[in-house]
């Protein structure tokens, strides 16, 4: 009677949801998008293009920006902000969250600082970005890193706080000694689901911050959106917004695959 609930591991139930049920969802999604495009197009016929360009105009702008090479250039510039900003912010945020979540001493020491700095929006730090890094890729990466930092800090902090005392007790009776051993062998794996959720949220937020990070003149996708808007080229602005959306989608799908694999043990 005990065995019937048990099943050998390693089956691809991560992909079970990618079967038939998913086909229907995709179809419905496609219908929703088509309906949205039709409504958009209908409304755009009644408006000036600088108020609402038609989806056809946006597609045209997308194609011409892509063909001219401007879009890929802007994207590669933004990637140079996004990648180091996201990596640095995520790494530092997770490390600080785990350390402060685990150590009462560190938490007490830093709590006032953390609460003071937390509500500062990354955008408000543009002055520091310029002063410390200059109007360049590093300045933009800094803005993105700040955004990634806080999301990951709080996700990791909360996840570590939620680690069961009982698991730590079990570990101690099995020879776990000292903070490093406890963090490495119990705290980190036990809080991994929460940390992963933080990383995933942060990855998306960092694409949003690409716009903010380029607002002070660093070239990239964000800069193109701001410039197109200033020139009332709404079709171009939307085309570049789509680039951010596509990048977010790509990264999110990739990360979810990693997450599923890393958390295969989860119920």
């Amino acid at each position: 009677m005990a065995t019937e609930t048990a099943s050998p591991v390693g089956e691809g139930d991560a992909f079970a949801s990618a079967g038939l049920g998913d086909g229907r969802r995709l179809l419905r999604g496609a219908v929703g998008v088509a309906a949205f495009l039709v409504v958009w197009h209908a409304v755009s016929l009644t408006q000036d293009p600088f108020v609402l360009p038609s989806p056809v105009a946006v597609a045209g702008a997308f194609a011409s920006e892509l063909a001219s090479g401007d879009m890929t250039a802007a994207l590669s510039q933004s990637v140079r902000h996004w990648v180091p900003g996201t990596i640095a912010g995520t790494g530092l945020g997770v490390a600080a969250g785990v350390a402060f979540g685990w150590s009462r001493l560190l938490d007490d020491l830093t709590a006032p600082l953390v609460r003071t700095l937390r509500p500062v929006p990354p955008l408000a730090l543009i002055g520091f970005a310029i002063a410390w890094f200059g109007i360049n890729d590093w300045g933009a990466a800094f803005i993105i890193a700040v955004g990634a930092f806080w999301i990951n800090f709080y996700a990791a902090y909360g996840a570590v706080e939620g680690v069961s005392e009982d698991l730590l007790d079990v570990g101690r009776t099995l020879g776990v000694r000292g903070d490093l051993d406890a963090v490495r062998s119990i705290v980190l794996p036990a809080s991994l689901p929460g940390i992963m959720t933080g990383i995933r949220t942060g990855l998306g937020r960092c694409w949003m911050l690409v716009v903010a990070s380029e607002i002070f003149g660093v070239p990239g996708v964000g800069r193109e959106i701001i410039r197109a808007s200033n020139n009332l080229r709404v079709d171009r602005a939307i085309a570049y917004i789509l680039v951010l959306s596509l990048m977010y989608l790509l990264v999110d799908v990739a990360f979810r695959a990693v997450e599923r694999r890393a958390l295969a043990w989860r119920a």
């Binding site: 609930t5 099943s7 591991v9 390693g10 698991l167 009776t173 776990v176 295969a264 043990w265 119920a267």
Partner: protein
């Protein structure tokens, strides 16, 4: 009044089970010596005396069950014995050495299993071995041996999420035994499984006990379980938690619940638990 000498506290019919004289840590695998625990109040008094002067010992290879009414501090005593909670008074001696913190010489099994969900069955069992000085080959052999002991060899690569409660508890027992402790401490280990599984696990535990010769201190609120398993049953009283009496269970194993002698012991222990403060 403090000391209970394990070897002669046995005459349960007419002795109070609290014979005078010091415990004999040399002969005992584990001895509790005047253990007390007071939880401080919140300023305006209200300190709670959870345990008061608890003394008894468990001899090498002996199986002792600890029973008592709810609130008698069984779990606190268990945690103190395991070195997970500090006693306010007294001490715990493991083979004559004072216990000051958790040690791999005591295997601990909790009611809620507390398996590491991110590790497979085999990795859970091998967790403590990773911190031992055994070679990887020795560790693997030990894990195989433990899995075989609890009958879970075919589930070695499964994650805990896919196991039933009874199987999880078998993994937890194998995990605690893997590092070869001299004492097994168990806190209501079968309290979370159905009755049928519980009886099966009890039989299995007795087999493991017989084949490994471990000393076992087993906390339970189930009197029939205690009488089924134990050489001696330590009956506790509440407010404050203390030893009321130690009952020698003088029945041959395997014990049948239908036996008159079995029923008599169960009745006697129940009476002691229900006797009020």
């Amino acid at each position: 009044m403090a000391g209970v000498n394990g070897s002669d506290a046995g005459d349960a019919d007419d002795s109070p089970g609290r014979a005078d004289g010091p415990p004999e840590p040399e002969a005992a695998s584990v001895a509790l010596d005047g253990v007390g625990k007071t939880y401080p109040g919140d300023g305006d008094g209200g300190a709670v005396r959870a345990l008061d002067d608890v003394s008894f010992s468990v001899a090498d290879g002996e199986f002792v069950c600890l029973v008592g009414p709810s609130g008698c501090g069984k779990t606190t005593l268990f945690r103190i014995a395991a070195g997970l909670t500090e006693a306010t008074d007294g001490r715990v001696l493991l083979d004559g050495t004072e216990v000051t913190g958790p040690t791999t010489d005591m295997g601990v099994v909790f009611q809620e299993y507390h398996l590491f969900p991110w590790l497979t069955v085999a990795e859970n069992v091998g967790f403590g071995l990773e911190r031992s000085d055994r070679s990887p080959a020795e560790r693997e052999a030990r894990v195989d041996e433990m899995l075989d002991l609890v009958g879970l060899t075919e589930f070695r690569d499964a994650y805990p999420k896919s196991l039933s409660g009874g199987m999880k508890q078998r993994v937890a027992i194998a995990r605690s035994l893997a590092v070869d402790p001299s004492l097994l401490l168990m806190d209501e280990p079968f309290g979370a499984v159905d009755a049928q599984t519980r009886e099966m696990l009890q039989r299995e535990l007795l087999d493991v006990w017989a084949s490994t010769g471990k000393t076992v201190l087993f906390v339970t609120h189930d009197v029939a379980e205690a009488v089924t398993l134990a050489d001696r049953v330590v009956v506790m009283a509440a407010d404050p938690g203390r030893v009321r009496e130690i009952v020698d269970v003088d029945v041959e194993r395997p014990r049948e619940r239908g036996d008159a002698a079995f029923a008599e012991y169960v009745g006697r222990v129940r009476e002691l638990i229900g006797a009020g403060p």
